[in-house]
Symmetry: C2
Subunit: 329 residues, 2 copies
């Protein structure tokens, strides 16, 4: 059962070779309710609102949930039967999101937004300087990458062109010889302390929720740049606001936003946009990537692996996603 | 004679081994006037105002002018004796300016400034899309580099990390096998027509003045991105404004500004900042690079080459700089 309209017709035809394919956009509610008990596989973009706990409990045949979004933190793990395998779509957006991460990093490093707005408002003059602190030069500096999966390694590939030294925080071993990899809480602190800029590309799980808190921010360089293209909840909102306010040379650039009432929201508790060391864009790193059709094809290919009896890629561990304090956002 | 305070003491000591060094910041006007006829070499940052045509005509011993700015279009070539050799400081800022060029390119590609301001003004919502046109993905696209010197080749090096195809407009042959190089007016048109983004890193000379005019803009893709980190005069101001206004998907991002009364000025004839497809920063790509001390050391090393009887690097052809229509800016 496909619950989104982002899957192209050719991919749907491909899937049809292995079984019956139903698209929820073509079904009315009674038909849908009748179908639910027979569905083996769910291909979702974002978790559909009609799959309430009650409806989900009627899907006794469900064996696989494949997400087209890269992350799976939208999936109600607590309500799933143990036999259901959940697959993320990690890797499907890697190149595009890594490009976006570098765009945010460089915008912050060169203060592009701030300078543009200052010139526009006639609040800057040529030859006025900040004593050489106008722009942060990345060459020969250290870039920390938190989470060295598809996005992280694409970020590193781009980083090599900028001649940065790369430190990674990764629980899996990193094969590239020019990347220094660290694990565990101490390893994270080491990466943060060493880095001139840090890109967060971790999945949001119980283990990584608020992984960047007040203590971790305090280990970073006072003029470092923190970029988040993963999930806002990886960073403690109020701790971040306080840190940005008291450390004007520190910069935070994000495309992702904290959850409010179970949905990502541009409305933040703290007034980040009053700060000139904050850059925020409205989670746009995905849609253009989606428009290429690649993420849907990537997800469909994984479903086909499963249908052919192969082990699908990107199986997630539900235990890591059973976040109990989600309601606070 | 050194006319700027950006040269470090160690470099001045280095120069002193080859001759007497005078710093104009330590001299009063009578002393300065007395010295001028004996000066062999001028090390300048920007052309100093005290070197009026009259004072310059008294410098009968002058043999070399070394610029610490990368470009030499600030130097009054028309007033120089033929025996005076002028050296640019090409290459001294290459890595830093190439980084900056990519920052402008990616800011425009991902509409960072526009999105940030829209979210700040609460004029955007999550999941609102531009049908996949939110962001331009650079991977697998074509990048045109106009002027393949130090900056141009550093821009290409960074581009390889983004997996872009590289087209160069260069009068010198390009050695890198993955770069397709073109020459002449037809070659320029070819590069412009093919490119999804173009970075201008040409020197401003009589030959390159307004090299991007209405005709050349019209050869570019309607949704291309043009980045200028060289000199504003390479692009025809009014033609550019008209083009941006009538082609909202086309984007221009610049750190450099047109001359007004013989000086670069943030005041433009056309109201560029009213357009959302324009990004402008106040020529900040240089100062932080200057703060590293590298450009001054680079320039001093070239002066020492000259003092040791070697041919200095970056000798420019005065004929290319005898622009007769400068007054129009």
């Amino acid at each position: 059962m496909i619950t989104t309209d982002v899957v192209d017709p050719a991919s749907i035809r491909g899937l049809s070779k292995y079984g019956k394919v139903f698209s929820t956009t073509a079904l009315d509610e009674p038909a849908l309710n009748q179908l639910l008990p027979s569905i083996d596989i769910l291909l979702v973009f974002f978790w559909p609102s009609f799959l309430t706990p009650e409806n989900l409990s009627r899907m006794s045949n469900l064996r696989l949930i494949q997400s087209i979004l890269a992350g799976v933190n939208h999936i109600p793990f607590a309500q799933l039967d143990k036999k259901v395998v959940v697959c993320s779509n990690a890797g499907a957006y890697s190149d595009e999101v890594a490009e976006y991460a570098w765009s945010l990093l460089l915008s912050a490093a060169k203060r592009i937004v701030d300078f543009h707005n200052a010139v526009k408002a006639e609040q800057w003059s040529l030859r006025r300087t900040l004593g050489g602190k106008e722009v942060t030069i990345m060459g020969e500096k250290t870039l920390g990458i938190l989470g060295y999966g598809g996005i992280g390694s694409a970020v590193a590939r781009i980083g090599r062109g900028f001649n940065v030294n790369i430190y990674a925080f990764s629980r899996k071993p990193v094969r590239e010889k020019d990347v220094r990899a660290f694990q565990g809480d101490k390893g994270l602190s080491r990466v943060l302390a060493k880095s001139d800029a840090v890109i967060v590309s971790l999945p949001l799980t119980k283990l990584t929720n608020k992984i960047i808190d007040a203590d971790k921010l305090a280990t970073m360089k006072k003029d470092a740049i923190l970029v988040n293209i993963a999930r806002a909840e990886l960073v403690d909102e109020s701790a971040l606001y306080e840190y940005l306010k008291t450390n004007p040379d520190f910069r935070y650039a994000t495309d992702v936003w904290w959850y409010r009432e179970e949905r990502e929201s541009l409305k933040t508790v703290s007034p980040f946009f009053e700060l000139s060391n904050f850059i925020g864009t409205p989670h746009v790193s995905g849609p253009s990537s989606l428009a290429t059709g690649k993420p849907a094809k990537f997800a469909v290919a994984n479903v086909i692996r499963f249908l052919r009896g192969l082990k699908p890629k990107n199986i997630v561990d539900p235990a890591e996603y059973l976040v109990t304090d989600r309601q606070e956002y």
